[in-house]
């Protein structure tokens, strides 16, 4: 079993749709939960991070973590064609722990937003 599982999609939605991207993880030591966005032929870039459980909102993006069910979500509201990319969830442990700063990625979900 992989430490972080992510539905690879692909996911195709019309412009303006609400997009839901999800991951599950197995290691309860993970405390930091990130979403990276990767455009074609580019390196990943950090989109959002959440520490422990809860929600975090940044513009059209909302990240949610439910540690009780080991579930990570990213919601994109009013999706735009420029959001078309691969979205990678990632996890990391606490400072002082062996997994701090060591990102464990899901396999990525390919999202296409068509006009």
């Amino acid at each position: 079993q992989k430490e972080v599982e992510q539905d690879p999609g692909p996911l195709s939605v019309p412009e303006g749709a609400i997009v839901s991207l999800n991951c599950t993880y197995s290691n309860s030591a993970f405390q930091y939960f990130m979403w990276y966005r990767q455009y074609s032929r580019k390196g990943p870039e950090l989109l959002m991070y959440t520490y422990s459980s809860g929600n975090k909102e940044d513009g059209r993006f909302t990240a949610q973590v439910d540690k009780s069910s080991k579930y990570i979500s990213l919601f994109i509201r009013d999706s735009q064609p420029s959001d078309s990319a691969t979205y990678l969830c990632a996890t990391s442990g606490n400072a002082g722990g062996t997994s701090y700063g060591k990102l464990t990625f899901g396999q990525g979900t390919i999202l296409t937003v068509h006009p």
Partner: protein, 113 residues
């Protein structure tokens, strides 16, 4: 602020040949990472440096892969000899605080034939 630089961007070699990749991190970033990203998968950490010391190389295939960061700035990753399954994008990343906030370069796309 300049980003993470990597070269070459693309490389095609035959199996059993050797290859080297170069990375220059963001200025001032003490932590440097090399990741391998196989097509359709997320990046997998190969090695993590803190300044010029190795923090984690548990997933580095040490029989064929080596990496160094001699002066605590730029780094090279070498594969010798290459296998077909090494075909992937090799990503370099750097971090100021050695945490989740990592900045990635554009990667080197390696094809082994």
């Amino acid at each position: 602020e300049a980003g993470v630089a990597q070269s070459p961007r693309y490389k095609i070699i035959e199996k059993r040949q050797s290859v080297a990749f170069w990375c220059n991190p963001i200025s001032g970033h003490a932590t440097l990472y090399w990741y391998q990203q196989i097509l359709g998968q997320g990046p997998k950490l190969l090695i993590q440096f803190q300044n010029n010391g190795v923090v984690d190389d548990s997933q580095l295939p040490k029989d064929r892969f080596s990496a160094e960061r001699l002066k605590g700035v730029d780094s090279t990753l070498k594969i010798q000899p290459a296998k077909l399954e090494d075909s992937a994008v090799y990503l370099c990343a750097s971090s100021l605080r050695g945490n989740y906030e990592q900045y990635f370069g554009p990667g080197t796309r390696l094809t082994v034939t």
